[in-house]
Symmetry: C2
Subunit: 356 residues, 2 copies
């Protein structure tokens, strides 16, 4: 999934070049490329599918040149994750009826890619031949209020648990309670299922979405696909896969395809962040003794400064003196200096420039 | 005088392009050009003389293209202001024996140029036909500790006073005392005298400097001038015109050229700053309701910020949120963010960059 239009990493991310297409870590690869790299050993290029906005087709082609053009699916508009996933599942099913699918955002960060692949491999084995959905739950390391949580239930094989409940982003106090109680995991938004399970679940719980994708599917892999998708896809309701499928399926005893369904969670510990904000990027970066971090090029000097993150994409030389807890971010002629604890207002800040 | 190598406006000013050659106010003219403009109505180009470092010859020619090349004097090394002024006085005297001269730094700022010209015109009238030196004393508006002070004595014609004493840069408490007592003026470093008075005073109080300039003067306006100056000028002692001439002449009853000498001060009020630091530039700029100022190009947005100065020479768009009393200065790929009250450490800050 690579269709987001993040504004929280402004000025680096902008609607015409959102976060997933940016080398936000300053490592020479964009988040989309790092995500493709992470799956690359397990999944050949023609087994990798990207769903993105029609506006980003050229960027995806440029960043992932080995991907077959059939494998880039273009949404004419944003309809949240359920229609996005339905579109790609239907399309995969036409070519690979027995496929097992990992659904993943393209703009997350994983520290330990070997452990990530081990977990994914275990997950693929677990869901193969079943109607289970397996989500990857991150063992929480702090009472984070920016993530949804998954409450684990009964233990199953290999450390995998049934899902007792999905929890919305909690307050700080509630998050502290989750950590104290134990058995709660951050919802990474990464999950695995058979394509046929996915299709059956969507047909059962989201018949309106399924009907529209069926209408599109007669033209898949033909010259008419683009035109049909452009006409029909916008008629899908806008709904997230969590609301559409995970929650109704979560606690149920429902059978899908004559097999026992339900959602499980595999607790994992590969070092993960959704990189939702500059602050979460700061959490992931190596910091100096004063808690300052930089990413990318440029010669950065911190003097009497603490807990700052500095990022320049133009390779500026920067001296920062006397700042505590600030973001300093520069991209293509735009510079943001703001308090890290005000980062949720970055979109508002960007709009104060006359020509943002 | 345009030979300084300021480091306090880093990153805008650097040894290869110091403050006087920079459009520090962002008005489209450098300080040198603004200084030349200020005198332009009273002094024709061939009556304007620039003493600078040999390193800056090309910059001066480029910035003041109408200046005759004879009028650009090149110091092979820095010997403070007394040898600098002696050099140009001797040279002017050879061509214009009866010249009246205004000596001025080239990197100061004047708000009211009409009033400036009125004061200079009054001063020229006052010193003509006399052996007096007239300094311009700025009526102080705050207990500034960054300037030297001139204590006025007895009143003379047209508001002009005798000089009772020159005072070094005072402590804050002493400066408050000066303002409370009255009769003290900031020493602007701008002064007027006849060229023959200047020569006589230098011969009397600085015979060593005068001897070296005499040695050089036999080759003035010849092809040998550059070579001779390069050889002899460095032999001058390094001494300021204040110590060399003003102070010994100040309180004395000395006669020069058979005329009564002495230093006087003309109190003036044309809005002046030596632009010694980012803070003094901030004082001069128009500020918004929160005390924030910008100079130069770029689209600057201040949010929850006070008492800041932002200057970009590359036309960056900048959002500043949550800063109180900071300097944000960018020039040619280098960015400085520091507290305004730490600006005296800017040279030290610049040296923390690996390739400053």
């Amino acid at each position: 999934m690579a269709g987001g239009i993040g504004s929280r990493f402004w000025p680096m991310s902008r609607p015409d070049n959102p976060k997933q297409f940016i080398d936000i870590l300053g490592v020479g690869r964009t988040l989309l490329q790092l995500t493709a790299d992470r799956f690359g050993d397990e999944f050949a290029p023609d087994h990798t599918w990207i769903v993105t906005s029609a506006n980003y087709q050229a960027i995806v082609r440029e960043q992932l040149p080995s991907l077959p053009s059939d494998n880039i699916l273009l949404e004419p508009c944003m309809r949240n994750t359920a229609p996005c996933i339905a579109y790609v599942i239907w399309k995969i099913r036409q070519r690979y009826p027995d496929a097992v699918v990992v659904v993943s955002p393209s703009d997350h960060f994983v520290v330990n890619t070997d452990e990530f692949r081990r977990i994914v491999s275990q997950g693929l084995d677990f869901v193969s031949g079943t109607s289970k959905v397996l989500t990857l739950g991150m063992t929480p390391t702090r009472p984070e209020t920016g993530y949804g949580y998954i409450q684990g239930g009964e233990a199953s094989e290999g450390g995998i648990l049934t899902v007792k409940a999905f929890k919305e982003k909690p307050s700080h106090d509630v998050a502290i309670g989750y950590l104290a109680e134990g058995g709660y995991y951050w919802n990474s938004g990464i999950f695995l299922w058979e394509a046929k399970t996915a299709e059956a679940a969507l047909r059962k719980f989201q018949p309106e979405v399924a009907a529209k994708i069926d209408e599109m599917a007669v033209d898949f892999y033909t010259e008419r696909e683009a035109e049909t998708v452009e006409r029909v896809f916008p008629q899908c309701p806008s709904i997230s896969i969590d609301y559409a499928v995970m929650e109704p399926l979560g606690g149920s005893d429902v059978e899908l395809l004559g097999r026992k369904g339900g959602v499980c969670v595999l607790p994992a510990n590969f070092g993960w962040s959704d990189l939702g904000t500059w602050g979460s990027l700061h959490n992931q970066l190596t910091k100096d003794a004063d808690g300052n971090a930089t990413a990318g090029s440029g010669n950065i000097s911190f003097i009497e400064s603490h807990d700052c993150i500095v990022r320049t994409s133009s390779g500026l030389d920067i001296v920062v003196q006397g700042l505590e807890g600030y973001i300093v971010a520069e991209d293509k002629g735009t510079l943001l200096i703001c308090k890290k604890d005000q980062e949720q207002r970055i979109k508002q800040f960007s709009e104060t420039l006359k020509n943002h």
